[in-house]
Subunit: 188 residues, 4 copies
């Protein structure tokens, strides 16, 4: 069912790995509601995933980008604007990964290289997306840049491991960058 | 003025650089109230600082430790317990540093290597202190491990730059590790 | 512009006094999106207001109700279900009033009869709406009952006077009654 | 054990009903730490309680006051200052009561007269204490006025019934009145 809510809107969606991904469902619905989208994911995640099927279903090009790489993000944004023939209305950052979780490390027995990798992928990548978008002045007025958080950012959910800390950092970026981006656009 | 509130208590205090440091004032007062303390700081910070004078004033040995180094932290805790002849009652983590701030980078123009360094020094170091203390079972019952935060962890304070995000991560560690440490001690 | 988002939905809207009211704008948009609505306000407010024009514009009957009166609220809900020929999908509680504010009393110089009146109108009325709706089993599955709050419920906004306290109470009702209503519907 | 922490301090303690009351324990400890105190409670609560024993133990006069009565509160504060021979350093508001709870009414089946009585006793009384103290300029510099809250003020605790809403209102008073009182004292 479509209500045409996103007719004419253009957006980038990060993180659609397979049809269990939140990003996957968002992409389907955004397409149904009339949006044009670009799909992106880390090259390694794309090799595991089924993103091509989603690209065909939604008429979306797929532009790989490692979300921890400023170069990749700049390329993604530039190429997306070329594809859209203009600026961007929305970006969905639906990315998160903890190596400690993957390797079965308890929260009180972290490997800190794993922890740093998780911060970079899960949280700092959101700052990088925002900073690249702002520097390229890539967003249309009234556009949105959205990340996905979890209540563990604010309360104790023991099983969420170091993703809780990553989400706290992510939410702080949303607050801080949101302020600065808003001020910059207002007086631009 | 002393009320003997910390008589017999033993603690480690991080971060006394000079008499403008919160940690410095805490060390003086803890000593006045009867606590035995160990002072610590990063080797490089100690070269700049006047911590020896504080050590003499408070009768405290100084054990250098880079708070981002698990080896240094383990050594600090081991040596402190040897000095005290027993476990530890309190640890004060009074540490924070942003390279982006030092280098005058705006929040929307971060150098991400600087950012990562700041996360490690300002936030992840607190997890490391907790994890090392827990693994060595270094804390007495009813002991406290305390870090210093700032309201920018929860609301926008634009001038606090990436320290806001670091403090959010730090507060999340306090919540999460506090839960796990409490559960572990309860059933130990 | 309509996207048909509320096609087939039926709702009660409290608090449309004139075209400066949030409730007024919501009523217009809900009607445009296909909802059937019932308008209500306190009899005294209706005498001052222009709600008849809104009723004509949105095809909505107007059923007066003093939101502090359980009898009036029960009558409103019963009559609304008769009008709709079934249960209700949404209720908007857009009501608030402080006698202390109206009379120019400072927050630190309250007349407590005024304060109690404000609590009843601004906050407790929301509990009454919820309790009446629940007892009559008036809501469709997936229905919504919404009140309007303000950030002063959670932080200090000195000029908001005792409305800040009223909104805190209102938000607490939303949390508590939401829990109980959800549990009751789940096992109904 | 005493550390003399409250030597020379003078305070009013509300709500010591029996030795299970938080206020009772606070009174004992405040006395041990050197404070002079005045005890108060509602006349009806005092008939049920054992407050005289506490008064003897702590050398405290007992001045009855219904905390919902501005007259009673003004009398209490005036008499306390006469007793102390000067202003007051601390007031502990340790009061709360829900008639709905006492009568076994479920949160979704409130009697709203009961609810209003609970708001007045549990929450609004704190505003009245503050307003009376401020109007009489009864507090010493650096003095404290403290109320007891519960986490249910901020999250759902279903069994706490309408006391959750009362505590939300109480916390809001603390925020709002604290701001105004601080500003007034700063520029007094």
């Amino acid at each position: 069912m479509s209500n045409g809510l996103l007719k004419g809107k253009k957006g980038i969606i990060f993180g659609a790995l397979n049809d269990q991904s939140i990003a996957w469902k968002v992409a389907e619905r955004a397409h149904e509601e009339g949006a044009q989208i670009v799909l992106t994911n880390a090259p390694i995640a794309m090799r595991m995933g089924e993103i091509n099927a989603l690209g065909e279903k939604t008429g979306a090009p797929i532009i790989p980008a490692d979300a921890t790489s400023v170069d990749d993000l700049n390329n993604l944004i530039t190429k997306s604007m070329e594809h859209f023939g203009g600026k961007i209305d929305f970006i969905l950052h639906s990315i998160g990964m903890s190596v400690n979780v993957r390797k079965g490390r308890h929260y009180t027995d972290q490997n800190y290289e794993f922890t740093m990798k998780g911060i970079d992928v899960s949280a700092l990548s959101f700052h990088k997306v925002l900073q690249c978008a702002m520097k390229q002045d890539a967003m249309n007025d009234w556009g949105s840049i959205l990340a996905l958080s979890y209540i563990a950012a604010q309360r104790v959910f023991p099983d969420y491991n170091d993703m809780a800390d990553n989400k706290s950092y992510l939410e702080s970026i949303a607050r801080s960058f949101g302020y600065h981006y808003g001020v910059a656009k207002k007086y631009a």
